[in-house]
């Protein structure tokens, strides 16, 4: 959270249609997405996007289908050209790049993982994983060595000489991840990388990603339409709707302070006890004294669920919050209970009971 800004997007607009520049004027003049489509026949993909993505963070971009997530992530490596705005990577203006420079960026600084895996069916798993190096002109013997290493790392040791169609979906996506890792690029772009997998495999893959990230500290841009997934992975969460950013912040903060009914509705359905962590709701010590009646200690990164289990459901308890053993705050169980209730009850939930 303290890393430098790796990717910066400034007032980015993307409009699909035959005359985007003219349509841009209307959008900047306040025409909405639906009106733009009905009156001018242009699709508003993105409007006024400003995001900074920090080094070694997982930035999750979330939104419903059609909100412009894929469009946004494709601007980072210029698979899509913006209508207006800036994209900077490591402080350099990517949009000013010529073909050669752009290719180098794609080869060496960014690698992408796709929802539909996009493996080459005629090449073995190891050859697939080595594609990103092969493209740079690395000799087969050398890129296969790296590919083997990363395949082993994502748990596919022994499958190097299989073909993609011989693997399950989850395994194929592991190849996709290995392929991105083999390129050794500092940035990983993942467009709904786990959306095509069934829930159990999906959890596995999320754990794998977090585990890899602990070690590799890549700058990851992860797209999902699943809030649970977003909350599990995100260091920072960007919520898109109809092409604009509704809210972006630390996920815990968004959960506790949603700034828009759209988000409130989104977050009202999830298991808050499992997602919220002690650090988001504790009272910081700020040099004050520790209470004498504390029932024990909890870690700052424990989930509320853990804490409730410890308290046995007794709301009169309070705990000392520690970070790596040192006390940093106090947690009142009453605050915890309050935090569990969303400001707006889930409509779906209300109907169910």
């Amino acid at each position: 959270m303290t890393g430098t800004v790796k990717i910066a997007i400034r007032s980015l607009y993307k409009i699909f249609g035959h005359d985007p520049q003219a349509a841009l004027k209307h959008v900047q003049g306040g025409v909405s997405k639906t009106d733009l489509l009905e009156q001018y026949g242009h699709v508003l993909g993105l409007q006024d996007i400003n995001v900074e993505m920090r080094e070694s963070d997982i930035t999750v971009i979330m939104g419903l289908s059609g909100s412009g997530k894929s469009t946004l992530i494709r601007h980072l490596n210029r698979l899509i050209e913006p209508t207006s705005g800036q994209v900077e990577v490591d402080g350099e203006d990517v949009l000013a790049y010529g073909e050669q420079r752009l290719r180098t960026l794609r080869r060496e600084s960014m690698s992408m993982v796709f929802q539909k895996f996009a493996l080459l069916p005629h090449r073995t798993v190891a050859e697939n994983a080595g594609t990103t190096l092969q493209v740079r002109g690395v000799r087969q013997r050398d890129y296969l060595k790296d590919a083997w290493k990363w395949l082993e790392r994502v748990g596919l040791g022994g499958y190097e000489n299989h073909y993609p169609h011989q693997l399950s979906g989850g395994m194929q996506q592991r190849v996709g991840i290995a392929r991105a890792l083999t390129s050794n690029s500092p940035i990983m772009l993942m467009d709904e990388a786990f959306s095509a997998l069934d829930p159990l495999i999906r959890t596995d893959m999320q754990d794998l990603l977090l585990e890899l990230q602990k070690e590799l500290h890549k700058t990851i841009v992860f797209i999902t339409h699943d809030l649970d997934e977003a909350l599990k992975l995100a260091d920072r969460l960007v919520i898109l709707k109809d092409g604009y950013i509704v809210q972006q912040d630390e996920p815990q903060h968004i959960l506790l302070n949603p700034n828009d009914p759209y988000i409130e509705d989104f977050v009202s359905d999830i298991n808050r006890a499992r997602v919220l962590r002690v650090r988001s709701i504790m009272t910081p010590l700020n040099g004050g004294d520790l209470p004498d009646d504390a029932q024990g200690e909890v870690d700052i990164n424990d989930t509320l669920e853990d804490t409730i289990a410890r308290s046995g459901g007794d709301t009169s308890h309070s705990y000392v919050v520690t970070r790596e053993g040192t006390p940093v705050g106090v947690l009142e169980m009453t605050n915890l209970v309050k935090a569990l209730v969303p400001r707006v009850a889930s409509e779906a939930g209300a109907r169910k009971y």
């Binding site: 698979l79 960026l105 794609r106 539909k116 080459l120 594609t131 990103t132 740079r136 073909y163």
Partner: protein
């Protein structure tokens, strides 16, 4: 009195028409016959369509249809020399290749040819059963003394199909990369595919001497190249967009994308095109025997010309056997490619 007099009178073109009258223009048979009935009123249901000939009767300035046919012929003859001057040297290598292939296939003794064919079948299909089948078919043809003819036909097909692939695949690739190129090429392909094979032969006979192999070589290639072009174009266009996007995102150059992704993924379609191309070459090689292509077609032709029923039927059977062999082998090769890349 001709039916359409009123038209020219009405338009005030009578003078213009009569000014062109030569009086002793050659008369068509129909004209002469019609003369007899002239003056009689034509019943309304025989009212003629305003064709060139009908209009000519009313106004001599309008040309007759046979003049048009003549004009086409004259036009072709006029450019013939230029065309020949350009095309003759350009296509000369085709004659050499065909001559060479025929020579090799005829000169090689059967006990050399059999193992070579078996090896080719094995390399293409990796199937022992097919080797057995192919050997049995060729052996049968040899047994009934049609081996030489069959080899001539095979030689021509090999050369022509090879050249079709050599030219067709790049054309297909070019089509897949540019919509304009595709729009321009498709009408030509449609024409090549719908023209009856005999029609190709007519201008070619005028352009080249009938004794030259390239005459039938060109006819076969023009006829058979269409599927491989179409299916290459289609195959490349059908390559999964996600995979292409992935290739772009890894920074592949156009070249890397073409050879590393598009062609390999389009290969099943391209192979299907090659299969059809080979089958169409076989169909055309029979017709091409009209213009001195050697092989089984010659026997078929003899059967028709001299009403030698047996000769015609047996050589027809030989062609069917060749067709089955070629089809099975190319299909098996295609299946092998497909099996390695189920998605």
């Amino acid at each position: 009195m001709a039916t359409y007099d009123f038209l020219f009178d009405g338009l005030g073109l009578r003078d213009w028409c009569d000014a062109g009258k030569t009086g002793d223009a050659p008369q068509s048979m129909a004209n002469l016959l019609a003369k007899g009935g002239a003056g009689k009123d034509t019943p309304w249901w025989e009212f003629p369509f305003p064709s060139l000939d009908a209009l000519n009767e009313a106004c001599a300035r309008i040309v007759q249809s046979r003049d048009m046919t003549k004009a086409v012929e004259d036009g072709f003859l006029a450019i013939k020399d230029v065309l020949r001057f350009v095309l003759d040297p350009m296509t000369q290598p085709l004659s050499w290749i065909l001559d060479f292939a025929l020579l090799v296939f005829e000169a090689a003794p059967w006990w050399v040819m059999f193992p070579i064919l078996m090896a080719v079948v094995y390399l293409a299909t990796k199937s022992v059963r097919l080797i057995g089948f192919v050997t049995a078919c060729i052996a049968f043809l040899a047994f009934i003394d049609h081996y030489g003819f069959a080899m001539q036909t095979l030689a021509i097909i090999f050369v022509c199909a090879f050249l079709c692939v050599l030219f067709g695949v790049p054309i297909g690739i070019a089509m897949s990369r540019s919509d304009r190129m595709q729009r321009m090429t498709i009408p030509v392909l449609d024409m090549l595919q719908t023209l009856p094979p005999f029609v190709y032969l007519i201008p070619l006979i005028f352009l080249f001497s009938v004794t030259e192999p390239k005459l039938y070589g060109i006819a076969i290639i023009l006829y058979a190249i269409v599927p491989v072009i179409r299916l290459t174009d289609l195959g490349i266009r059908l390559v999964d967009r996600d995979v292409i996007e992935a290739a772009d995102s890894f920074g592949m150059t156009d070249r890397q994308k073409l050879f590393g992704v598009q062609i390999p993924l389009a290969l099943p379609n391209i192979m299907a095109g090659v299969n059809q191309t080979i089958m169409m070459s076989l169909a055309m090689v029979v017709i091409a025997s009209l213009v001195s292509a050697p092989g089984l077609g010659v026997l078929v032709l003899r059967g028709i010309r001299n009403l030698e029923l047996g000769v015609g039927l047996i050589s027809g059977l030989g062609i069917v056997l060749l067709a089955i062999v070629l089809d099975r082998v190319t299909k098996a090769a295609l299946d092998r490619v497909n099996a390695a890349r189920k998605v």
